[in-house]
Amino acid sequence: MTTQSKAIASATKSFFVDMLVRDIGVDGAILDLIDNAVDAAYTHHRSDNGLDSATIDVTLDPDRFEITDNCGGIDIETAQNYAFRFGRAPGFNPATRIGEFGIGMKRAVFRLGSNFRVTSSAPETRFVVDVDVKEWKQDDDDWTFPMEIGAGQAEDPGTSVVVWNLHAGVSDLFKQDRYRSRMLREVADRYAEAIKSGLNVSLNKEPADQRIHTLLEGKGIRPEHQSEVLLSGGQEVFLRIIAGIGPDRHPTESGWYVYCNGRLVLKADRTELTGWGTVEPGARGVPVWHPQYGRFRGFVYFTSDAPAALPWTTTKTEIDVSSAVYRNALVKMRAVIRSYAAFTNELKAETSEFEDSSGETKRLILNAVVNARFKAASDVQIGKFQIPERSREVPTTPPSPQTTSIQFQAKVARVNALKSALNLRTNRQIGELAFERLYAEEIG
């Protein structure tokens, strides 16, 4: 005889929180929270002025993390039913660009510290959620957060997230000036597109500067720019690749930059992940990145209304290499790398020809590089990466003659008589004059 019963399989909160924060670093947690604010900025401030009035202020302090924005706030309905929920509820599809995964904010605050407070003012409502995580974890059956709701008109609706009782490692990081300035650069890179559209982001009151990438363009020389609409799980993904010769041989700036919906996912990547090969430069095959490619800059943009169709992982700091759209892009990126490798090989060949010929050979490629100007990557026209052809001049071939010579004999005495009569010095002059006179007479 058997009896039907059930074994408990529900997660404890402690286990759940540990699992949740496992994949994310401190950087990722901070960026997740900024992602949410940027999304809100795009929704709330979309106007002719771009994101001009949108502001996000981040504070990293050894005792406290804070992010405050003026990007519209979260309304009560959304807060009660969706915003604090783990995972996205089915049927709830807000127009997000980069904060797709329904875990960002919770994961981030758990990663940073033991207490958090979310305050948000939407145009007509406001609320505060204040949580002591250690306390909250005691009761495994209650999966809600306490929420205080208020009413009233907000002047500048927005959201702020404060985390305190920071975890030891986090607090240590926030003490370091070096970490804070690295994070500022990181923010400037990651949100370059939003910053370009007018978004103001600051970290400890220092604004993140607008980063503009430039590429060489000039006579015979131009960057690559191609685009295509691809499909990922039935959703359209717009792919754009721009690449070329950057301003300097920078060992940490060279490589591929991969963006998903404007958010930088990979920065200056020089590994096989972005198509770099395994052979030495100059050998046959796709080359491994090498300082000789130090001026290479490549930018890959994936854009979609459906962020889940983009080739990133949930941490948004990694690329999902199995993604169909990424595999497709990789074929194109490797073709660009080969073009660039061919360019550096040609430049090398030109240099050695120049040296072999003791400076006789024209340096067409080098001159084009030197005379080209920098153009913002975003302004590059559609077209293939191009460099001038190397000089093919063969020094020994004289130009084919357009003239011919005529010879005839005459008595010396008579030639001399003509010379003195016409005051001419050479036989050649007499010959030429004779030809011109005859030509004028017969042909005109």
Binding site: G277, R284, N328, K332, R338, A342, V394
Partner: protein, 309 residues
Amino acid sequence: MSVFRPKIDYSLRPAKATVRRMIVEALGRLDPLVPVDQYRYVGMGGTYFRDFQIVHRRLGIRSMVTIEDDLRAEERIRFNLPLACIKVVMQHTNDALPGITLEDGPHIIWLDYEGRVDQGVLSDIEEVVGRCTSATVLILTVNADRVTGDQRDLWLSEIDADRADPKTKAEYAQISYKALREHLNDVLGSRNAGQPKGRQMQFHQMFHMIHADGAQMLTVGGSLVAEVDQLRWHQCRLDSLTFTRSGEEPYVVTVPLLTRREWQHLLSVMPDKTEVINIASEAGIPAKEAREFAAIYRYAPLFVEAEDW
């Protein structure tokens, strides 16, 4: 810098000449897909340009590019150009192909290497398959002979075949074939990824040939055809030719050694493949040679000395 000297006269390589003519016959069948004279031909002419001449004469192709990487040979290559419509690109194929526009129409690209499959060859495959338009034909010829000594392991490792243990010539050819095809399939798979079905391409293998005038050479080739062109591709009826191969079994080109008189004798009963065996035996020619003759007689060259001594 050392002096360039032309390699052996390719026109005296009977097996190679046979392969070349077979390929051109097959290319001539592509008319339903693309009017053949509209193709651009990209090859590696060497100093003899045999393929360029035959492609121009038999197929009417006028737009041609030759890729040459022996810089010392430039003057002689230009001197030997048999036609005015051949553009010379003096670069290694790895550097030359990225500079050739493949996106503007179908190409016939015959990369006729002297060396083996290596990272350079695989990179060229990627370059073509990644960028070409539908109806483009890619043909690759590589050395697929045995390798001995240290070179053997180096080579196997370079093509990611460390675990293979080829012994016979046939096994070397098979490994080379797999390296080419698997890489081609990988790149094509990636190119198709994320594309709507109508833009996806299929590779229809046309050639899988082995020939040897000296070293054993492998030729693999086929056409990249988009979904929308599939019907036209099938109208080309490439499978009705005796030497085309769509799978892993190669067609082995063997040119029998026959005198001129024997040749004419066997030819007189063709295309009767039974009768040719009979009349061969009357002349004391082994049946094996007669069968080989019957397989290649339409393509193999018959050499005579052009000048009396």
